[in-house]
């Protein structure tokens, strides 16, 4: 994928793909406009960053962080009474480089007031259909999808059972001594390398009700406290969108942020400060709402049949 140095001034995407890209962006905006969602463009540079353990932000030399998603800003607008809205723009994630990852990528993130998980599954399916994706197959719960491939129940399997599955299928990491007791580590590993590649091979599939353990701003399932009201949409084995019913309790949010902050500190890095403005917004009152974040470059790549993001971006990371 790395272009020859002498030729790397050229774009990775051809003209037909960039025309498709422009039409896709227009179609996404049209879909939102038809539903009276207001487009906003919040700052790309923020003074604080999300606390999530698995999100590393690029820092700005003059102070601040390039946002890994517009989530915090959009929730502040929601709390201030701006109603259902969306942002379509660039977001940034440090260290995420690969066939399906570019540290700078285009995300559509939208929030809808008074929507539940079922409503967002339907709306995500409708949005994808509107841009040419086949109708999604029936949603599956994380527990079922995981169990179908591995024969294990991800909620009750022991650490030993998870590790044994990873070892016998040849996906266990070379070094994992630090993570022997980290349940989410094994679940992420098995989900990413064994389950995900089998998901949505023809039509997209929504996987719902993920374990709550590493969630920060996601509402937990009132019927089962071990689960979060979250879904992921997979198509052709690629993660395309992530949605959730949003957490509204400022105290729970702060506890979870502190937990994530401590996890990052244990790794020996100084985490970005916790976003106190978001906590203030939650304390003031976030209306009941649900949101979805969609990776637009991946969506385009899957639509045009590209095998990596370099083929659908004008200038992917190695050509920046």
């Amino acid at each position: 994928m790395a272009p020859a140095a002498v030729d790397d001034w050229r774009p990775g995407a051809d003209r037909a793909t960039l025309i498709w890209r422009a039409q896709l962006l227009a179609a996404l905006r049209r879909f939102m406009a038809e539903r009276s969602r207001v487009e906003v463009d919040t700052p790309v540079i923020s003074s604080a960053a999300p606390a999530e353990r698995a999100l590393d932000c690029l820092t700005v030399v003059d102070g601040g962080y390039l946002v890994p998603s517009p989530e915090h800003a959009l929730k502040r607008l929601l709390a201030a009474g701006h109603g259902s809205l969306y942002q379509l723009g660039h977001v940034f994630r440090a260290g995420e480089i690969g066939r399906w990852h570019n540290p700078e990528f285009t995300m559509l993130e939208w929030y809808r007031e008074h929507a539940d998980l079922a409503a967002m599954l339907v709306e995500t399916d409708e949005l994808l259909q509107a841009v040419g994706v086949p109708t999604a197959s029936a949603p599956q719960r994380y527990r079922e999808a995981f169990g179908k491939i591995t024969g294990l129940d991800p909620l009750i399997a022991t650490l030993e059972e998870l590790a044994a599955y990873a070892t016998t299928t040849g996906i266990a990491p070379v070094n994992h001594a630090d993570d022997e007791h980290n349940r989410m580590f094994w679940l992420d590993l098995i989900m990413s390398l064994a389950v995900q590649p089998t998901l949505g091979l023809e039509a997209p599939v929504m996987i719902t009700h993920f374990p709550i353990d590493d969630a920060v701003l996601i509402a937990s399932d009132p019927d089962d406290e071990r689960l979060g009201l979250r879904f992921e949409c997979y198509w052709q084995g690629v993660e395309l969108a992530n949605g959730a019913v949003e957490l509204r309790d400022a105290q729970v949010a702060e506890q979870r942020m502190q937990r994530e902050f401590a996890i990052k500190q244990l790794r020996g890095v100084q985490p970005p400060p916790i976003d106190t403005r978001l906590l203030s917004a939650l304390a003031a009152g976030l209306p009941p709402c649900a949101g979805v974040a969609l990776g637009v470059d991946r969506l385009l790549a899957l639509l045009v049949g590209a095998s990596n993001l370099d083929q659908v971006l004008p200038f992917a990371w190695p050509r920046r």
Partner: protein, 190 residues
Amino acid sequence: MAQFNTNQFKGGLKIILDGDPYAIVENEFVKPGKGQAFSRVKIRNLKTNRTIERTFKSGDSVEAADVLDVDLQFLYADGEFWHFMEPNSFEQYQASEAAVGDAAKWLKPQDNCRVTLWDGTPLQIDPPNFVTLTVTETDPGLRGNTSGGGTKPATLETGAVVQVPLFIEEGEVLKVDTRKSEYVSRANEG
């Protein structure tokens, strides 16, 4: 010891795993939007040439293999080892049968080979792309037939067998492409 972090992984990088040297063939970055990142790599064992897949946790480090490619002159084979020499320093290296592998059937004394060394030991021998070798055995040539149309096997001085045009005779010197095991021309026409 030099180390490579997973964020430096790319095709061609040489690493040590379980005591053996490997070359990275392909590296795939895998990360759920809300979870742990991994590198799933295809790696080729430089001793056995076997390709396997392994997972690394993102951010982990792995020992770099001190592997380099040098041009060495083939001297002779003693039945157990193949002996090579660095033409400037005259330093000699001996390669095992496993390292020489298929290259053995092309090696003629004085020919230069690309040799992959790991900690000073030959791991892999690549014969020159083109070699000139004498035909030691082939069916009698068909006189007058100089325009192709049919081939026959010919055994070369190193033991390799290639398909040659019908007009080639024993004792002739041929230019051969070792990558395709193919006759190119008579050496004096090359």
